[in-house]
């Protein structure tokens, strides 16, 4: 029976359209871009590896929690506790200013503002612009506005008889405010992103149940956006903790005998200390252990925070993509 049936010519094998032929140019170029990616990651690994391998050894409880000596280049007695304290103080103070303002702005942009109005565009433009202003310009701004203008005015009204300026000089509060201004875009962008990831249905349900707009925002939307707000805060803290340029003229001190006691005191700072140790050391080979040790402490502070923020953010983004 098989023999009698007129056999159709065998069907040609299904052609695979994709990757049917090996295309050398494509292969080469894909490899090249992959190499670029690899190279960036390799440099990152190299930097971190170098720092942690050389710096890990110098870390001791004495170094982490010891007080700084007047001669801060002495390897045996060096301690970074006052710097850690100063950095933590300025960064925590900063979050008190930047989080409320940043979250409010983000809520306005996503919840209240009409999406297409030129006004919203201007606010967005200002936020983007602020993100790109050089950090040293923030330092100048802090000096010209916070210290000279605001601090100077406070002195005129509060301490007209004081021969020395009280508010109108470099101080913890002015450094924190300068950093708050600088990190405002970080908080706004992160919060906005997480607010957008919240389904519209949730807001509609709340409104349908008779909640007012404000109640909806405060009790339904913002609690849902908490991970995003947290990310923004963490990113802002990590960015601010590593910045030196904005605090050079607004509050960082080369050396102080005691920890800052009030908002108008200057402070020693970890990131600034890295700068001091690496540029003003009398013998760089000798002070290398404390330099690396300080860098490790700074990186542990900023980098660990960054890693956490990136992980939360990746999660928020995945949720966002699932909704889209």
């Amino acid at each position: 029976m098989t023999a009698s049936t007129p056999t159709a010519p065998p069907a040609p094998p299904a052609r695979r359209f994709r990757a049917s032929t090996f295309e050398p140019v494509s292969f080469f170029c894909t490899g090249l871009t992959g190499l670029a990616t690899f190279l960036i990651l390799a440099i990152l690994a190299l930097i971190l590896g170098n720092i942690f391998l050389q710096g890990g050894a110098g870390l001791s409880p004495r170094f982490m929690f010891g007080n700084a000596d007047k001669d801060m280049f002495d390897v045996a007695s060096a301690g970074v506790w006052p710097m850690v304290f100063g950095t933590a103080a300025r960064v925590i103070l900063m979050t008190l200013f930047v989080i409320p303002i940043g979250v409010t702005t983000a809520s306005y942009l996503t919840e209240y503002a009409p999406a297409l109005s030129p006004f919203t565009r201007i606010i967005r433009g200002a936020v983007n612009n602020l993100a790109g202003v050089p950090s040293i310009v923030f330092g100048l701004f802090g000096l010209g506005f916070f210290i000279s203008a605001v601090g100077g005015t406070l002195d005129v009204f509060l301490y007209p008889d004081s021969p020395k300026p009280v508010w109108g000089k470099a101080a913890l509060i002015w450094a924190s405010l300068t950093l708050a201004v600088m990190t405002l875009p970080v908080v706004i962008v992160a919060t906005e992103e997480s607010l957008r990831a919240i389904p519209l249905g949730l807001r509609e349900a709340s409104l349908a149940l008779g909640a007012t707009k404000l109640q909806t925002v405060l009790r339904v939307v913002l609690p849902q956006a908490l991970p995003g707000i947290l990310t923004g805060g963490i990113l802002a803290v990590s960015r601010a903790a590593g910045e030196v340029a904005p605090i050079l003229f607004t509050g960082a001190a080369y050396y102080m005998a005691s920890l800052p006691q009030s908002l108008t005191d200057q402070f020693m700072d970890l990131a600034y200390h890295v700068f001091v140790l690496s540029t003003q050391s009398p013998d760089i080979e000798k002070t290398r252990p404390i330099l690396y040790g300080t860098v490790v402490v700074l990186l542990l502070l900023t980098f660990a925070l960054n890693l956490v923020a990136i992980l939360i953010r990746a999660r928020v983004r995945r949720n966002l993509r699932r909704l889209a």
Binding site: T33, V133, S135, F303, L307
Partner: protein
């Protein structure tokens, strides 16, 4: 979300909304204030109201006997001291300084340059033949006896380091963005992107430290150039700060090209690379351009890396392996030593205002380009 319900019925709601609106204006206010307060300190230089000539400086003499009659602030300005220095000095030291100043006036150099107001625009930007030089030169020497404020060496320094940084960072970052957004297997993508973004978490002072301690010695051993710290090393380290900026924005632009473009190209028989290179990249080109512009803004405004790794010598030279001094590093290194309100102080604020203007424009351009691109790709919303 545009549910407009009776506002008058809910005054509290109305009030809250207005307060939220007001607070969200902070960002605009801050940009405006930066412009105003950095500009305010620089303005006298812009309009030529400062005078840095020695003749002017020594015009007024306060004899030590008048010590008690002059207000401290006036005296501090007269002696050209920073506030900190002034506070640490006792009366005797100050009187000595005042006496020294009278001597200095007597010994004022018999030099035609002493009469020059070096903060005029033609000295700020043009070459001048200073006494002792055999031809007109561009010189930045603010703390010499005759304050030389020529900005050209600083412009050249900033442009040189920025050039090296962009040359290194932009191709690398864009290639990586292309790979991560188009070519990498989806699973690898999940961790490649955060991995590269982690680079932005390294503080710039740590990059500067790394350039100063590790990279500078390594590259000097490799190429054998004379000055250890130079525009090349600073530029490479600066590139590390620029890579995450360019990468993030370019990757974002490439990813926002609709998937249907790629799928159509693949269906027509192209390879993944051909689709990425010939279809997706051209579609996202404005975004890639914007990424480069914003990377430029980041590079020219970065302070700590160049302050630590560039060597800080203000020389006019086209050689990348010469030590160099940038605008940002100059502000950071010199501002603490200046007298508030003095001409040096004001010239440094002028540098800051210029930086602000340059980054403002590059941000604006980048922002507009990205906005338009997204509008095109996603359809006008």
């Amino acid at each position: 979300m545009g549910l407009h319900r009776g506002h008058r019925a809910r005054p509290l709601e109305w009030l809250a909304e207005k307060i939220i609106l007001l607070i969200s204006l902070t960002a605009i206010l801050v940009v405006f204030l930066i412009f105003l307060f950095v500009g305010r300190e620089a303005w006298p230089v812009v309009i030529g109201a400062t005078n840095s000539s020695l003749a002017q400086e020594y015009q007024e003499i306060i004899p030590p006997e008048d010590f008690a009659r002059v207000p401290p602030a006036r005296l501090r300005q007269y002696l050209g001291l920073t506030r900190q220095q002034f506070e640490q000095m006792d009366e005797e030291t100050l009187k000595d300084l005042m006496a020294l100043r009278i001597e200095a006036k007597a010994q004022m150099p018999d030099d035609p340059d002493a009469e020059l107001n070096t903060t005029e625009w033609r000295y700020l930007l043009g070459p001048h033949q200073w006494t002792g030089y055999d031809r007109p030169a561009y010189i930045w020497q603010p703390v010499s006896q005759i304050h030389k404020y020529n900005l050209v060496p600083l412009f050249i320094g900033s442009l040189k380091t920025t050039f090296v940084a962009l040359l290194f960072a932009v191709p690398l970052a864009i290639a990586a963005a292309l790979y991560v957004s188009q070519l990498a297997p989806p699973r690898a993508r999940e961790w490649l992107k955060p991995g590269i973004e982690l680079l932005s978490g390294i503080p710039s002072v740590v990059l500067g430290f790394f350039a100063l301690i590790v990279m500078a010695s390594f590259f000097q051993a490799l190429f054998g150039y004379p000055s250890r710290l130079n525009a090349f090393v600073a530029g490479l380290a600066l590139g590390l700060a620029v890579i995450p900026v360019v990468f993030s924005i370019a990757e974002d632009a490439l990813t926002s090209v609709p998937r249907s473009y790629t799928e159509a190209a693949l269906a027509l028989g192209s390879t993944r690379w051909q689709a990425a290179w010939q279809i997706v990249l051209p579609a996202a080109l404005p975004g890639v351009f914007a990424a480069t512009v914003l990377g430029f803004g980041r590079a020219i405004g970065e302070t700590m890396v160049v302050l630590m790794a560039s060597g800080n010598a203000s020389i006019v030279s086209g050689n990348l392996f010469d030590s160099t001094r940038t605008l940002t590093a100059t502000i950071a290194a010199e501002l603490a030593e200046t007298v508030v309100g003095g001409h040096h102080y004001r010239v440094l604020f002028l540098l800051g205002a210029l930086l602000f203007a340059v980054t403002f424009i590059s941000n604006l351009v980048g922002d507009l380009v990205i906005h338009r691109l997204k509008g095109q790709l996603e359809g006008k919303r």
